[in-house]
């Protein structure tokens, strides 16, 4: 049986650069690192209860990528009764990489890009793990 695609859902927070870090990390995974295993969905569409978006998150494992502790992506997936397999908060990763000072919302600075790369690698490993577990079930 073919594995389900993992749905990577960033919060895309617009107030601070950390929302952009999460968004860029998600695109690195779905467009470059694991394009055959992942996809994304518009979080706003999910929030609005779009039937296709609801079906997608209920039938596929999801990873929430949140910029801040408000965890909008995680909360919206849960409120949609989606299959939340994992969640990551950019501020937690930043705490472990204190030397990095991400900046910029329109365009991330180099350190923001580096943080996004670190998160994207962790997300990719988690995607592999989720799919391995699915195969075992």
């Amino acid at each position: 049986m073919e594995n389900h695609k993992v749905v990577v859902v960033p919060c895309s927070g617009i107030g601070k650069s950390l929302g952009t870090v999460g968004r860029v990390a998600a695109y690195k995974v779905v467009e470059r690192m694991r394009p055959e295993k992942t996809r994304t969905v518009c979080l706003a569409l999910l929030t609005m209860g779009d039937n296709d978006a609801l079906k997608l998150v209920r039938e596929n494992p999801c990873i929430a990528v949140d910029g801040c502790p408000a965890q909008c992506s995680k909360k919206n997936i849960e409120a949609s009764k989606g299959k939340l397999a994992h969640n990551i908060v950019v501020t937690d990763v930043l705490r472990k990489n204190r030397a990095l000072k991400p900046d910029g919302v329109i365009k991330l600075n180099d350190q923001g890009e580096k943080l996004a790369e670190i998160i994207a690698r962790a997300l990719s490993e988690k995607v592999d793990e989720i799919q391995r577990e699915e195969k075992c079930e």
């Binding site: 895309s12 617009i14 860029v24 969905v41 518009c42 979080l43 929030t47 409120a79 919302v105």
Partner: protein
């Protein structure tokens, strides 16, 4: 609750699945950072659901412009559902029709042509901000 004087709220969809969602987001930030920094504020759209009453009061405090990437108009609908009816909506896909030579395909990093389109959208938002502020000043 009365409207806050001199400020307009801008809520964009930031749609992750479409390049137009990235345009909505970048255009919004261009308005906030460059075109109308003193007259505009924003809020993350999904925070309406995840946040509390303070966040949901946003569109009752600020006259609000929704910036949507596609015809599903999530920013307009979400703002109306959770906070208050936006005063205006800017639809990226409609603005694109005026500039058929500007193509969009990137979701992550915008190319110069895509940045040009984002600026066109930002200018339309800024024009709407001026209209709203003129109207509220007259009241």
């Amino acid at each position: 609750m009365t409207l806050a004087a001199g400020k307009v709220g801008i809520i964009c969809c930031s749609g992750e699945d479409l390049p137009e969602g990235t345009i909505s987001r970048v255009a919004t930030r261009l308005v906030l950072e460059k075109l109308k920094p003193d007259q505009t504020v924003t809020l993350c759209l999904p925070l309406f659901l995840a946040g509390g009453e303070d966040e949901r009061a946003f569109a009752r405090v600020f006259p609000t412009i929704a910036v949507d990437g596609c015809s599903k108009k999530c920013a307009e609908a979400g703002t109306k559902k959770y906070s208050g009816k936006p005063v205006a909506t800017i639809l990226v896909s409609e603005v694109m029709k005026k500039y058929p030579h500007l193509k969009v395909k990137s979701r992550e990093k915008l190319e110069p042509q895509e940045m040009e389109l984002a600026m066109k959208v930002a200018e339309e938002i800024a024009k709407k901000v001026d209209e709203i502020l003129c109207k509220t000043a007259r009241k």
